[in-house]
């Protein structure tokens, strides 16, 4: 069907391989990453394989088989790959083919041939078949045989799992150029957009999936990402929200018909499938219907639910999501005030309420990238695949050896600044004690690094002192001044009508005011720039090497020369 790919030519795509669903994406010649829909028109392709009379079904078609043909349907297998049978949690597979122990690996017993006896298929083989179908869909779309890919994996994927994935992909005829971490892929998907400039920022990437959720705190410094902390929850995901919707409708059904559809295997499967669709509809509209033919005992069932009720019922689950994200920030030793961006990835991130809860959890300055809070947000389900496709386009010209050398720990393990380095600004009359510190090179910046910034010189010009110091961020908590009682009463007398409004405002303001304050901790160097013109700016350039030696240049903007100096690295690394 597709043209032959020329020998030696690489056609690379990005693959996001998930437990619940997978996506494929490619990069257009203009450098834009685009997600490919498979022949059924799905961009989120369920990671499910099913066999009916030796015919293989994949994606949405296989998912439909969970109801009638669950024993020959394999789902939620990604996390079994490359793992010992004893270490897996088979809970998600209760309603499909059960994982079994074969030798030391995990396998499924399914009727995938016309034989009477079921065959035993290892999870590696299942993965290969799944990837082969993804490859086929991408090849059909691109008109060229795809033979290479960048695949995303969770940050805590063990080496054995990574090796097993590379091997399974090889069997499917895909050369894995690189395995990249899911949060890095999501971040890259946003940074690859032309309108995003490179700046230093702290980002929380929350990947809220179907049956697990992963949160990573990432420092982005000069376009280079460093993961500071990760947390994982294997029992939290969209499935928990499906459960909330299921329980709600099941209870309604029991009230009407005195039977619990959840006790019937097929009824449960039908209910699960439809409730997932209802939940998705609630992310878009404020009202969603559910209708199932012959749910149980041959009874048809139809009902609806509105978003408000759903959000009320799912409040606990939503709190678990925000709690997980909060714990990741804490684990990184940070405060919500430090976070510049929150990127929501994964299918569950479409839920408007989660995005809004996060907006209130983080300060106003923090941007929450989700469809509900930012119109320009990228579809959260597509982030990982787009990031992978972009990375694939960057490295597909490289030799395999080049790629291997570049991602070697020799390259990736890098010293990072343990303190921010900046310039201390002193107002003309103030003493050095309350000097303002402005960070120039942020904490956790990968070395070597170079930063340039301009500072306003004192208005009258003259000689200027530039003091380079290390700095630390502190959270300043100020209690709001208690409003005197009399005043409150007096006001209430004046404006009787506004009384209640006024009171509620007051309650909100009772919260502590928290803000970040920079403190200069250790002076590094002082530089004098002489004879600066009035109203001029001073440009400070700092270059830090990986051995912590630094070169600093300070000069007047537009002026010549300036002062250069070098800070020697410490002789034996002790403070």
């Amino acid at each position: 069907m597709s043209d032959e790919t020329a020998a030696g030519e690489r056609v690379a795509i990005g693959i996001a391989f998930g437990n619940s669903s997978s996506s494929i994406a490619f990069t257009t010649p203009e450098g834009k990453a685009e997600v490919i829909a498979n022949e059924e028109g799905d961009r989120q392709i369920p990671s499910i394989l099913s066999y009916v009379d030796k015919e293989e079904f994949h994606g949405t078609q296989a998912k439909a088989q969970l109801i009638r043909n669950s024993k020959n349907t394999v789902a939620y297998f990604r996390d079994y790959l490359g793992k010992d049978f004893k270490s897996i949690d088979p809970t998600p597979s209760h309603q499909s083919a059960h994982p079994q122990q074969v030798d030391s690996t995990v396998a499924f017993s399914i009727h995938d041939t016309s034989d009477e006896t079921p065959s035993t298929v290892t999870v590696s083989e299942i993965t290969t078949r799944h990837l082969r179908r993804l490859k086929q869909s991408a090849s059909d779309f691109l008109g060229k045989t795809v033979n290479a890919a960048v695949i995303t994996v969770p940050t805590n994927f063990a080496d054995a799992q990574r090796e097993a994935l590379v091997a399974a992909a090889k069997d499917a005829g895909i050369e894995v150029l690189q395995l990249i971490n899911e949060p890095a892929a999501a971040l890259l998907a946003y940074d690859a957009r032309a309108e995003t400039g490179v700046k230093d920022k702290l980002v929380v990437v929350a990947d809220l999936g179907g049956i697990r959720s992963d949160v990573a705190v990432v420092a982005s410094r000069g376009g280079i990402y460093t993961i500071l902390a990760t947390v994982h929850d294997y029992e939290l995901g969209g499935a928990n929200l499906d459960q909330v919707v299921m329980d709600y409708f099941a209870k309604e059904f029991i009230k009407k018909h005195k039977v619990d559809p959840r006790e019937d295997v097929r009824g449960l499967a039908k209910l699960k499938m439809e409730c997932e669709a209802t939940k998705k509809a609630l992310s878009i509209g404020t009202n969603a219907t559910l209708s199932i033919e012959s749910l149980t005992n041959g009874i048809d069932y139809g009902s609806n639910i509105n978003r408000t009720r759903y959000e009320l019922l799912a409040g606990k689950v939503f709190a678990q999501f925000t709690g997980l994200i909060e714990s990741a920030v804490k684990k990184a030793g940070l405060d919500p005030l430090d976070i510049d961006e929150v990127i929501l990835a994964g299918g569950t991130s479409h839920t408007p309420k989660i995005a809004r809860l996060l907006e209130s959890l983080f300060p106003e300055a923090t941007q929450v990238f989700a469809p509900a809070t930012l119109p320009s947000a990228i579809n959260p389900s597509e982030l990982a695949a787009r990031g992978a496709a972009y990375q694939a386009s960057l490295i597909q010209e490289f030799d395999t050896e080049d790629i291997e050398q570049s991602i070697h720990p020799m390259v990736t393990v890098t010293p990072h600044l343990s303190n921010a380095i900046g310039v201390q600004l002193v107002s003309a009359d103030a003493s050095a004690a309350d000097a303002v510190f402005q960070p120039l090179v942020n904490v956790d910046t990968a070395l070597p690094a170079r930063r340039v910034a301009q500072y306003l010189a004192p208005k009258e010009g003259g000689d200027v002192l530039v003091r380079i110091t290390e700095g630390a961020r502190e959270i300043k908590v100020t209690k709001p001044e208690p409003v005197p009682k009399e005043k409150k009463e007096a006001k209430a007398d004046d404006e009787d009508e506004d009384d209640s409004d006024f009171d509620s405002d007051e309650d909100e303001e009772e919260e502590d005011i928290r803000e970040t304050v920079w403190k200069a901790t250790k002076p590094i160097a002082e530089v004098a720039v002489k004879g600066v013109k009035a109203g001029a700016k001073i440009e400070v350039t700092i270059n830090i090497n990986s051995d912590l030696g630094a070169q600093i240049t300070a000069r007047e903007v537009g002026g010549k020369g300036g002062v250069r100096l070098a800070v020697e690295s410490q002789p034996n690394g002790s403070a």
């Binding site: 690189q178 690859a192 280079i224 990402y225 990072h416 070597p448 200027v464 590094i524």
Partner: protein, 53 residues
């Protein structure tokens, strides 16, 4: 920048102390900026050498 008063030093600068020791961390091998970093590290180039190429 601040006004100095009676401040003087040889060649107009003085180094007061070295930087605090760094922490070793793993960077994510993705993105154009990482690839540039990897290229510099493998060929032992500095920023300015890289700019010239």
């Amino acid at each position: 920048p601040a006004l100095p008063q009676g401040w003087s030093a040889e060649k107009d600068y003085k180094v007061l102390s070295a930087l605090s020791s760094a922490t070793q961390r793993n960077i994510e091998p993705v993105g154009p900026h990482f690839l540039a970093h990897a290229r510099r590290k493998r060929h032992n180039r500095t920023f300015s050498e890289d700019d010239r190429i």
